[in-house]
Symmetry: C2
Subunit: 459 residues, 2 copies
């Protein structure tokens, strides 16, 4: 039998539901994989193997007919999402001694109720808000970043340490690591999954995200979390023949490196060779302002979101002018960017913040209409393959546009860069067409794989 840690969630779930694999043995296999690999990858912020095994044995006690749709499936959770049985520390010195919360974040409640085994908490950048990486490394090359801020979740799934993990995205924190690690990454439509219990940076942008090594596993999560389109997805697969597939470079295309450019041309060729009608499309010119608007919304909302945390650090001084010493103390304990947000160092006006809200809101239905003319729309996920070093988790420019448009995004692996590292492309759709995006993405991912795809060096 295949080592259980190599299975997809759906495969493992089927075995566990039938009783051909106990949850305990499944957990043991994952834990031994983690033991073997994680000294180098460092994906976990919190992991308690005896506790995991205890939970696994409890799940094994559930009679077959009462087992949930995610029975025994192990899930890693980014350490900015609250869990009732594990601490949540947000990679921040402010919360370094925090314990478990009294209640799980809303999506965790639902996943647990469906039978999932919450395995542990995965590493993140501070508050999932900065690009200074944790020490986590890319499982395909330990000299490189796995991306961020969902660093641990992406690295753990790519490294076969867990089949599914939760991330979050405010700029490109789910999609970019998906591309850097060569796995599927899904950022649902804003609002399609509850954000209750997720650390807050930007209410307009923050979205829970999901990693898996197959789209089927993501579809299973979408079902449990009731992410439903208006239109039912056909039972049959998304065949390429005659499908209209748009390629949308966006106004940040100038940033694309050779790896992304090659993936772009490769994907067009492959899909056309399968009978799709491939077409490059341009966004209307006012979409060019979205990057600036995204930055302004984050600055405006960060101003509010991090005030509480800063107050924890400087209970008296925040209300008065900070002395130089106070300021340095706070900067040591809190990333300067967060500090700058609270103090509105960028001098962002409310007028500019509102212009950003209204500009993006105006373009959302424009995008929906444009995208709905195609069966699928592809766009770059990243600038290029994962950069060397773990200090910076990379550039979110290609992702943040779609995050603030609040549309569903799916990173599809399929290509590689000059150094043999993975590069994906992102499938985007109109808002609330998540099921469609997963349906099309599964087929497109299969085609990329059949045509060479991304060759994982792991395992």
């Amino acid at each position: 039998m295949t080592e259980p840690y190599l299975l997809t969630a759906s495969e493992a779930g089927t075995l566990m539901k039938k009783g051909d694999l106990t949850v305990e043995n499944y957990a043991k296999s994952l834990l031994s994989r983690i033991q073997e690999r994680d000294a180098q990858v460092k994906a976990w912020a919190y992991l308690d193997p005896p506790f995991v095994l205890e939970q696994a044995r409890n799940l094994d006690q559930i009679p077959a007919e009462k087992r949930g749709p995610l029975h025994g499936i192990a899930i890693g959770v980014k350490d900015v999402i609250l869990t009732k049985d594990m601490p949540t520390k947000l990679n921040s010195p402010i919360y370094s001694s925090s314990g478990p919360s009294t209640i799980d974040a809303a999506p965790i409640i639902t996943l647990r109720a469906a039978g999932a085994l919450i395995l542990g908490k995965t590493t993140t950048t501070e508050f999932a808000a900065v690009t200074t990486g944790p020490s986590t490394t890319n499982p395909h090359d330990s000299t490189r970043t796995p991306g961020g801020s969902s660093s641990g979740s992406s690295a753990a799934v790519a490294g076969f340490q867990v089949p599914i993990a939760l991330g979050t995205q405010t700029g490109g924190s789910t999609i970019r690591p998906g591309s850097f690690n060569g796995i599927f990454a899904w950022k649902p439509t804003w609002g399609a999954v509850s954000r209750e219990g997720l650390a807050q940076y930007s209410v307009t942008c923050d979205t829970v995200g999901f990693y898996a090594r197959t789209v089927g596993d993501l579809e299973m999560l979408g079902g449990v979390l009731r992410v439903e389109d208006d239109e039912r997805i056909p039972e049959r697969g998304f065949g390429m023949e005659g499908k209209r597939i748009a390629f949308c470079r966006t106004h940040v295309w100038g940033k694309a490196g050779r790896g992304t450019k090659n993936a772009w041309e490769g994907a067009k060729k492959i899909l056309a060779s399968r009978g799709a009608e491939v077409e490059e499309i341009e966004l209307p010119s006012d979409f060019e302002r979205i990057s600036e608007w995204h930055a302004n919304v984050l600055a405006g909302e960060g101003r509010t979101s991090f005030l509480g945390s800063m107050c924890t650090l400087l209970p008296e001084a925040v209300f008065e002018l900070l002395t130089q010493q106070d300021y340095l103390l706070a900067k040591e304990k809190m990333h300067p960017m967060l500090h700058d947000h609270v103090n509105n160092t960028s001098k962002l006006t409310r007028k500019a913040q509102l212009e950003a809200y209204d500009g993006c809101a105006r373009l959302r239905p424009v995008w929906d209409e444009l995208a709905s003319r195609y069966d699928a729309v592809l766009t770059p996920s990243v600038v290029d393959e994962a950069p060397v070093g773990t200090e910076s988790t990379g550039d979110a420019s290609f992702c943040s546009i779609w995050t603030i448009l609040q549309v569903p995004c799916l990173n599809i692996p399929g290509f590689q860069g000059e150094n043999g590292m993975p590069i994906g492309l992102t499938l985007v759709g109109p808002r609330y067409t998540d099921e469609h995006v997963l349906w099309a993405g599964k087929a497109i991912g299969d085609v990329f794989k059949e045509e060479g795809g991304w060759k994982s060096k792991v395992v």
Copy 2:
């Protein structure tokens, strides 16, 4: 000396900062007032007097030069806002055994850091989402509702049990009780105060709200929470002479009862007599759809928000067709409306939900532009005075428009209905003009008071 419980927050704060009143003695005065009144009003969901006094004594230990801007000021907190030292139960059987959270909600962190004394948790309707009231009564007439869902916070402030309290608003949950109880109620611009740690119903609408018996107390809170307009507010007061004050009936005016109609005419006459240029304005006709859009946004977002809670109730059954028995069990433990949201009983389509988002987003800047032509805009707060009975907390029609437009709202008491119960009007402004709204509202409130005003029967 005046009984401390009768003081406004600003008055009590000045005395405590100077050391002329200890926080302990202030707390004792409030607790004895509560002891005297609350058997009838029933404003508190949680109150632990010995713990309050212990916190008060701790605050008294802070040396004068280190006391925060809210030193010793007592604040009641609606029981849907997380507190680290008191349970949060959301008036739901699901959370009836919940304890304190590991961390305070973000605004509570900031208020505590400024020296506030968190007094206790106040009653709410279930999840602040339904209109079935708790047993809390109106302090001016115990046969009537104080409104909701911020029932306890509004009743406690009106009844001199606490000078300041926090509510929330998704429809009219802050403003309506403000009117029913004859106090100032401020719902800030959406996003101006962090929502982290507030129970989630509708991310687009949920906003923390504040009650006080004077606008000065609300301004003090706004300062601590850094709710700042682009334009600095003049030092001088908002004189009526020559000010352009608009009266906006809205498309739900047909619901207005005699009390609100009399307040409307009275306010126009009073302000004109003081030299203001009073003008009735009409919203463009597409604003008529906002009430329907508000309902659709709540249905769409409630579908996501309450899934987790429903999973707590029905760990296995939610993922399959519910049996009749399961359904009845859940309905008993969870308000049927919440259940219907999760199950999308209204058959709301994603298309209709998106149309609601985009429609409201389109009208926000239209409103901002329209409102910015005036020095102040008044609109009804409620249908009429507080109805008899505590079963229903009343009609939110006049408030929900402004909630989903995400604009600042201030209920200004000043009138009374046929039964001598208070009726207020709401001052609304363009988004992120909260300081302006409070500045104008203070002056308009003073004028209403000088011209007769609302005569509180309490004390």
